[in-house]
């Protein structure tokens, strides 16, 4: 649901459209990739435009936007293939902080994130990187300085751009959440490219010591808060998938109406019309799922909410990938070039699917509820 005034939402829409137009020509992707590596990017602009504060409660210093408001941004980010770590920092880590931290420290923890001064990413995934806490094996022990953390975290998206990691661990066998400086001793980071030409890292914590104040929270609230932050992220990402789907459909329809083979527009081949129709059907599904997700957070029944969100994650990723594969196919050879954005949309779809439980894992979770 939108928690903002209609005109504020329109302002966000205008701002993000302008941002993409001014700053994100697809052709400059190589240059941006290099910048992402060193980190710089457009984070300052994101902060200035208030986007980093958008989904946080006003009591915590945020703008109090709802998922529908975040979706305005994410849909545009999908279309523009915006590689800034918005969903990593603001949704995954920011929401986890908001959901987990006690009220007394919430605002203070969120302020540097919302101002853009500090980037925090969630380091939660391990061998099976689902949203659930049960797979966490990273251990925290008390020590003279505070706590000592040992374990490994895998496929931490955009970790290279972070000042701090929000690390999940078990403390006395209880879920616990720590803020760890990226430059800490005994912390090794192995960075690699991801299929959507962004970066992720594996983190190895070999007895990283942190002060007592680094403990954000402990107990069941952490398990639930981290899970909810990821569910919230999935709900937002439905809009990103929708943005991708819509643009792919528009581009493909235009291509069919332009490209000629056998002396006619290829749009005249019924086989291709039907494939385009399949794309439209998938896009309709995805648009509906994004719409469903826009007010899923207001649901009272959190079990039902989780079911809906995981169903959505599974379905939007399957339908989205199929749609993107058709788009590539209908573009023929140019569809499989690096130069055309079409192939990059497909690659982004794969990365979204892989995030914290791919469609098969989500389906498995659903099946286990039966």
């Amino acid at each position: 649901m939108s928690h903002l005034q209609e005109e504020d939402r329109l302002l966000i829409q205008e701002a993000v459209d302008k941002f993409i137009l001014d700053n994100y020509p697809f052709e400059e992707k190589e240059k941006r990739l290099a910048e992402l590596g060193q980190y710089g990017g457009h984070w300052g602009t994101f902060a200035e435009l208030g986007w980093l504060m958008l989904p946080f409660a006003e009591e915590a210093g945020g703008l109090g936007g709802g998922i529908a408001d975040v979706q305005v941004l994410l849909q545009a980010f999908g279309r523009g293939l915006i590689a800034e770590p918005f969903s990593e920092v603001v949704l995954q880590a920011g929401k986890a902080l908001e959901f987990c931290a006690p009220e007394s420290s919430r605002e203070q923890l969120l302020l540097p994130l919302m101002s853009g001064e500090q980037r925090v990413v969630l380091a939660h995934g391990e061998v099976s990187a689902d949203a659930d806490f049960s797979a966490v094996t990273c251990i925290a022990e008390t020590c003279a300085e505070g706590y000592r953390l040992t374990g490994s975290k895998r496929v931490v998206c955009q970790a290279g751009s972070a000042d701090r990691y929000l690390v999940t661990a078990k403390l006395n066998n209880e879920p616990a959440l720590f803020l760890v400086d990226a430059g800490s001793d005994n912390l090794e980071r192995y960075e690699y490219l991801t299929i959507d030409t962004r970066y992720a890292s594996d983190l190895q914590l070999d007895g990283v010591t942190v002060p007592a104040a680094a403990l954000v929270a402990t107990g069941e609230v952490v398990a639930e808060g981290v899970r909810d932050a990821l569910l919230y992220t999935f709900a937002g990402l439905a809009a990103e998938v929708h943005g991708i789907a819509k643009n792919l459909r528009l581009m493909t329809a235009e291509y069919l109406n332009t490209r000629e083979q056998f002396g006619t527009k290829i749009a005249n081949f019924q086989a291709l019309q039907h494939l385009l129709a399949d794309m439209v059907i998938a896009e309709e599904e995805i648009a509906s799922l994004a719409w469903l997700m826009s007010n899923v957070w207001e649901m009272e029944d959190s079990t039902e909410r989780e079911r809906l969100i995981r169903s959505t994650k599974a379905r939007m990723c399957v339908a989205g990938r199929q749609l993107a594969e058709i788009a590539v196919q209908l573009h023929g050879g140019v569809g499989v070039t690096d130069e055309l954005i079409v192939s990059h949309y497909l690659r982004r779809m794969v990365a979204i699917d892989a995030l914290y439980g791919d469609s098969q894992q989500q389906l498995l979770w659903l099946a286990q509820q039966v």
């Binding site: 099976s128 496929v155 030409t197 690659r347 894992q361």
Partner: protein, 397 residues
């Protein structure tokens, strides 16, 4: 099922043993890990086969081949792929070679066949153009006759491995009037001829396979024409038919299935009884059953070929199913990587250096490469839509 004679079985054993003993470990590493192979890898392996007399085994003996039957060729291709040896690059040996010994002059055979056999001459295929893809017959790259030369102007798109090539076989337009198929001529040309420029195309997988090649007043001797002026379409049809069966490449798929089985066994040992493991096993079983059908189709076609029977739409059916299967197999391989499905270390894929202890993200990158590059398979070699058109046309008339 294809029944092998005693000689064929003996041959199969011989091939298997030879490949096991002679395939360089660094090349096998790349194939096993689904990494990009470079020219040097292909040349090294093809030369090893050549020394044994098994490169171009399907060529007639008089041209330096081993005179293999279709079945022997099939046995060889299967064993080669199953063992983790590189796919044989077809542009020389399977495409222009048979064209030359079927349609070429004695001088042409003498001049070009030895280089193909020895792998000292590398070939590329210049047929498609920016506006002539599925509708290949509409190609425009022109060759104007001037005395003893053709002068070529225009461009060829998707010239795979042109960056490596010494020679190109090319379809050019020598006549603008009449039926478009009739004005096409088949030439071979030296890639060092002045006026040729190659512009790389990076594909969806982030690596460099293919190119656009430009021709600006490129002079080629008329002696480089294969067949008569206007024979190009007929020759291309002959050649593309050869390409269509090789495209099934079922040996590689069987190897993929075997590799997945091994992985699932490891997963089962490491984390026994996980429901996830059973889901993957089911998906593998589904792919195996599809592969069984594809292999059966392939073997049936080969038997028909060998018996001299027309194969009709079977070749198109094979192309469609084999490429669809390749794609679903690659999705499964990628999915097995769990969260690492997102990892794609393109430098590791591209350089393919042997790494003793690859990271999980490196191990996963081969799956990403298979998936991404696999998207091309339903587009090249006659797109899967075009194959279905062929089938429907044959059935409906």
């Amino acid at each position: 099922m294809m029944r092998l004679s005693a000689e064929e079985q003996a041959f199969q054993k011989q091939v298997r043993a030879f490949i096991r003993d002679n395939l360089p470990a660094d090349i096998k590493y790349k194939v096993d890990n689904n990494l990009l192979l470079k020219k040097d890898d292909h040349v090294r392996w093809q030369k090893i086969l050549g020394d044994k007399g098994w490169f171009a085994g399907g060529w007639p003996e008089q041209y330096g081949g081993a005179g293999w039957s279709e079945t022997q060729q099939y046995i060889f291709d299967q064993e080669n792929a199953l063992a983790g040896a590189p796919f044989i690059i077809p542009y020389g040996v399977n495409m222009v070679g048979p064209v030359l010994y079927n349609f070429g002059t004695e001088e042409q055979k003498e001049k070009y066949l030895p280089g193909i056999l020895s792998n000292d001459t590398w070939w590329t295929q210049g047929y498609s153009e920016p506006n002539a893809g599925s509708d290949l017959a509409s190609l425009k790259c022109s060759a104007r006759r001037e005395g003893d030369e053709y002068v070529i102007n225009g461009t060829k798109m998707w010239t795979t491995q042109a960056q490596y090539a010494d020679m190109m076989h090319i379809l050019v337009r020598t006549d603008d009037g009449g039926k478009k198929q009739e004005g096409i001529t088949f030439l071979v040309l030296d890639m060092n001829t002045p006026g040729i420029t190659i512009s790389p195309i990076i594909t969806i997988d982030g690596v460099y396979h293919t190119n656009q090649t430009f021709f600006d007043e490129v002079r080629v001797p008329v002696a480089n024409r294969v067949g008569d002026e206007g024979d190009g379409w007929k020759i291309a049809r002959f050649l593309l038919e050869h390409e269509r069966t090789a495209i099934a490449d079922t040996g590689a798929k069987s190897r993929g299935v075997a590799a997945i089985k091994q992985r699932l066994q490891v997963m089962e040992q490491e984390r026994p009884g996980q429901p996830q493991n059973l889901l993957f096993k089911m998906r593998l079983a589904e792919i195996e059953s599809e592969l069984t059908a594809v292999i059966a189709l392939e073997q049936r076609l080969i038997a028909d070929w060998q018996a001299g029977k027309p194969v009709g739409y079977g070749a198109s059916a094979l192309k469609v199913r084999a490429t669809e299967l390749q794609q679903s197999l690659s999705v499964l391989i990628a999915d097995l990587n769990g969260p690492y499905k997102a990892a794609y270390e393109v430098d590791y894929v591209d350089q393919g250096k042997v790494v003793d202890d690859p990271t999980p993200s490196q191990l996963a990158s081969g799956g990403g490469y298979l998936y991404l590059y696999g998207r091309c398979a339903s587009i090249y070699g006659g797109s899967n839509q075009v194959q279905r058109n062929i089938i429907a046309k044959m059935v409906l008339g």
